[in-house]
Symmetry: D3
Subunit: 163 residues, 6 copies
């Protein structure tokens, strides 16, 4: 009863790539966010850097990772991507990474947006781990998606600090 | 003052791969964890699946991603890996993904362990997103590392539910 | 006289990627099959596994490999893929792997279908080689293709056991 | 009883990468063979080519694929490879592809040798498919391996034509 | 004032992938050239080879690299490619590598054409470096591009020897 | 007579990966340089950028490309890399990219050093091509190598402007 809605499953319970061969090519977008908690010491180390490079490296890593999504996520379709944007800002002791990905395709780019911020967050960890190995990637979520049969999705706003 | 400890930076503030050419080859290991919060409806969907495949796909994706770490994280060294293990269990409404990676090498495998659970967590999202797009990857952390000059690290236990 | 029909060759005999720049985007599909002969001991080992995982791992490896076809086969065009399906069944002492791949593109997906079953078959070998290194991948063939200027192709049925 | 020997399985039946962290680094080699059956027409087409390029392209594709084995086969360890050789000869209406791979490592290179000939065989198909889509990859087998705890393996000679 | 024309930059000076989501899919092509200077001794070594393989390997490497452009160049869009051609000729003591790449896409293939000849040139170096490590890749330039909003570009002819 | 010194060739003239299975693991390093000629207008565009990001992106792309060398150059051995450094400076109207790569391995890292600067130079082109498509990559050369049976190599200094 419930299983048919898990679209990666076949009737016998084994997994499959979702068949999108009958779906229309439409404009689709998705945005995602990751939050990385840094200690005060690491934040000072980042701030002391005149170029702010750690965040730039993280942004680039996120952009490049979005292009690798179909290699990483077993049942993802390879898609042409028209736009990949990754932002990195420091907000209240955290690095906030947000991505926006756009395509004209038969299926959506949620996974590309999520992969971008996940790898950007891992890169922040890598750039700072010599100072602090207890850095936490605290959250990776889909913020919004547009296009496609399932229609738009927008994450209900909740104060991040409350989570 | 603080910057020298951010080992990915050069004196002029630009980034670099850490030079490990003088370091000794020793046994090193790292473990990481990701937690993915699923709604009750998604959990029921997973449970109804006689083969529990979503978690197996996630585990495989994590193992394969660990092997791609140096491609994803810009300043990571490519390392031979002797062991990659990824566990996936459902605990109190969450999928708990844990990884253990081992190597004999000149640098550690923290990023491999973290990449494994991050991609496994993204795969859980992908397998379930048709049911619920608000699934949250709630935490990605290093649990433990051994070997290397910086010595062992073990994450201080805090009840996961308290975070 | 004969050479012009080997479309990967240029008049001087050197190889080339086939120029598809004037071809129309149409629906195309291809199916392929691989057969892997297992000994009775290995078959029992597979059967004893409550989850039948070896075949699931093989199926996933095949799906992921189809996405890498243009990286593996030097003169293949990178194509968007709309559907990749890989089946794995045990039939008369053999694992039968079959794939179906679909695209909307200017060229066909025969190589994607064949690559999927080839890598799935190699994965079966890998999963079972501790028990028996003499496992044989006995056959990899194209079963069917549709779409494209050359029209449909369907492999003439011959009893597999007769080959 | 039998399952423990399927080394990719854990006690609960789920799959794993084999833990090689306690194994010694030793010299290891493996050889594999693939046979591709070509029709007389395709063979003439190949022969008419003054450079014999199809087989050279296949050899190169096989060498490059061996380096990608750990990306393709989910539970394979990434290994340094010291030698990859792929031969391609036409014998009695077939292309015979043989590979030899060598390493100094904690685990063997059987999968690298098999992947090399499998991808080389797929490349032969790709180079010739414009002439004949019914080309068969007839066999992919391990011929020999040396090194490692399980000791040497050598495929029992059987006349290939008898199979 | 000038910065807006560097399309990979955002107003704050940080880099981005160029947003092509509003652009039309049109036919685009690009050609590039690399020149590799070989010493007389290396040229003789190449000439003595009855198959001229070094140049064939270089051509194949260039074709395969064009397909990897979006993986290598951080802010490149992944594009479907309809045609990739790489030529290699010996002209006045140099290997001249030229590429032509075609697509139907929202952005151009200049980087694909340049990447093809760059990697082909590196491969010539690799094939010959045992004889001479002072081989120079002397020039990598875009020869021509067509399609796209910026219109056609054609490199002004200058005698190569004058440079 | 001459051919045996082209180590990528077998006696029959076909290509091969060089067999390094008998060679010793030793420390090896290599440095390479690429020069990219920019017009005055592009240089001003770069200078106006408060973060100098184009060169940082190029450096990162070079570091990441060094890790992909064995994927790009068909007959290269995959090697563990201990250090990859890429510098980018503006000198007399040119971007000078230099790399240093180190390993402990059975073969050298010349190709890794050359690939790093080649891809860094292509990235400079990509970042600036909206302003000027006639940018020239003017030179890619090996500067130095140490370690290995063939002994050290150091490029004879010639004033770059004289070339």
């Amino acid at each position: 009863m419930k299983r048919p809605t898990l679209s990666h499953y076949r009737p016998d319970g084994s997994v499959q790539m979702v068949d999108v061969s009958g779906k229309a090519v439409t404009s689709r977008s998705a945005s995602a966010r990751a939050r990385v908690k840094l200690s005060a010491a690491v934040l000072r180390g980042l701030g002391a850097n005149p170029k702010g490079d750690a965040l730039e490296v993280a942004r680039l890593a996120g952009i490049m990772a979005a292009k690798k999504t179909a290699e990483l996520i077993p049942l993802c379709h390879p898609l042409p991507l028209r736009r990949i944007e990754v932002e990195a800002r420091i907000v209240r002791g955290e690095v906030r990474l947000t991505s926006t990905v756009e395509t004209e395709a038969v299926t959506g780019v949620e996974m590309e947006a999520l992969t971008a911020v996940a790898v950007a967050a891992l890169t922040v960890y890598d750039m700072c781990k010599a100072l602090d190995k207890s850095i936490e990637i605290r959250e990776i979520v889909l913020l919004e998606k547009t296009g496609g049969k399932s229609g738009p999705f927008r994450r209900t706003a909740r104060p991040a600090t409350a989570r």
